[in-house]
Symmetry: C2
Subunit: 325 residues, 2 copies
């Protein structure tokens, strides 16, 4: 089993690599080869599995033909994680179109060229494909009306992957990810950054800023469950997806107040006091535009699993933090 | 007011030209210039309006930069009708992607390049953007899960036009057309071609083939109402479209059995007997994947109007036929 990963050095890519090397198997077969595509090198020092041949390739998928040689080696599974994030895609339309859309199309064309009709392609999409005036609770048949260029580009890729799959040119699957909580590391420019920050920093003894009202709800999933969903996405039967190869993953609906209550439960009043409330209208507007309530019937039918409750999300973060110390 | 039309020599293009020359005005302003883009020359002999400067350009919009000179002349309204039809796009993925998607993207990029942010771009889309397992009655928030490459390409253009409009690069509007009945002329490569054919040919004394079961329902609109909708699409305010610049036009739900009953009513048993039933699984599959029942609230809110009943559709065809004899 030969697995290729684009965006391998990213947050999800690195975790997926670790999980794959740890399992050593995918879809009932031994994993023998891992091709990692990223202009940055994934951190692999601590990872080892002698049975698996791991190769990193310093490639920019936006360069024409960048993936051809790798696709010519006929990978069995492709995890296509490389993307320009939402704020970048909004700031630079051309960059977003080139990386998020054109590179995905080139990947599909490469699969077609090398007749990789049985290759399973797993791409990550996002709640950002939704937007505008939405129903109170979304479901698998809610229209995609993205209000960002990032969401537009992802939605276009979703359509293309479904069509190439329908035509038998590829065996595609697209997972729409909830907001990932709790990300490790530091706050970043993402509008959703505060959500991880208001737990992570106070639990680590630092202050954090909450820029939104506490009634605001988000649809979230832990990094561990997202990686498990990526792996499941490669193992589930493509035919079971039905008319569209896209699926919204089963996130958890949680309000900022509930996040802060979990912080108090795990870190005490002391931790809660480290959260400073400075309202930021721009961030509130963006985050409030993301849907928070979903009926994810298709994901459940396909066997994708989410987190049971927010406490589990916090506890898995604390376990990881302890393990990395 | 300078209007540019792509696909000007096509069925809808020709009718739109005639309607515009006849009106002489668009959106309350005098029409002064009409630029007609098509590799084929539109038939203009019978049309004349001295106040309007009409120029035909023999251009293939799929050629890189083909539209640049025309866009540099800063048209106020663009009707983008050029497309490869569904059966062609299904038979030739590359052709469909090039003409239906890439050329539309190049048009949007051309508008961006010449800063045509106030130019109203009206594109035609189709019920083919819908497909798969659909609710009994669709509405404006039903997800697009096209089951053809044509529908996929149109859905991708819709997303792009909404995003370019949201970014203020263009003032776009996309009209999802029901199946147009009754088209004049001869059967063509469109999967829906039979629907016009089973009325048109028998009423003209010729035989026609019905390749689908008579229980099949379609969502249809007369050529006259479609042309009126195109003009209204250029006149309505883009801001009123809301989160998406696409709208499903208010078609009429009619079964093939009802079409044949109308044929019998207008042409007698003799006409009905000219319809030969030869089932074609491929055509049935494509056409059956198109939804036939819609709640078109958005179109009605925006002031788009459909046909009152199927008899009106047949009678308008017979009037046109008589007028052209």
């Amino acid at each position: 089993m030969h697995v290729l990963i684009t965006g391998a050095a990213g947050f999800l890519g690195q975790r997926l690599i670790a999980a794959l090397l740890d399992r050593g198997r995918l879809d009932g077969q031994a994993l023998t080869r891992l091709t990692l595509i990223d202009p940055a090198a994934p951190a692999l020092e601590s990872l080892s599995n002698d049975a698996i041949d791991v190769e990193c390739r310093d490639l920019d998928i936006a360069e024409p033909g960048a993936l051809n040689a790798s696709l010519g080696e006929r990978p069995d599974v492709i995890f296509h994680l490389a993307a320009v994030v939402s704020a970048e895609a909004e700031a630079d339309l051309d960059l977003g179109m080139t990386v998020n859309f054109d590179a995905t199309r080139a990947l599909l064309e490469g699969c077609r060229r090398y007749a990789l009709s049985a290759t399973r392609l797993v791409m990550t999409s996002s709640v950002a494909v939704y937007g505008g005036e939405l129903p109170e609770v979304l479901d698998d048949m809610t229209a995609l009306t993205p209000q960002s260029s990032y969401g537009t580009q992802k939605a276009m890729c979703e359509l293309l992957i479904s069509d190439y799959s329908r035509r038998g040119l590829i065996d595609g699957r697209v997972l729409r990810l909830p907001t990932i909580m709790i990300r490790p590391g530091r706050p970043n420019a993402a509008a959703s950054s505060f959500a991880s920050s208001i737990l992570r920093e106070p639990l680590g003894g630092e202050t954090a800023i909450c820029p939104v009202s506490t009634e605001l709800e988000m649809f979230v999933m832990s990094p561990g469950k997202v990686v498990a969903a990526l792996i499941h996405g490669a193992e589930v039967s493509g035919d079971d997806f039905g008319a569209s190869r896209s699926v919204m993953l089963p996130g958890l609906t949680v309000s900022v107040a509930e996040m802060l209550e979990a912080l108090r439960r795990h870190g005490g009043e002391q931790a809660l006091a480290r959260v400073e409330h400075h309202h930021n209208k721009d961030i509130e507007t963006i985050v409030a535009s993301w849907p928070a309530r979903f009926r994810t019937d298709k994901a459940k039918r396909l066997g994708f699993a989410g987190d049971d409750d927010f406490r589990e999300i916090v506890e898995s973060h604390l376990r990881e933090r302890a393990a990395s110390m």
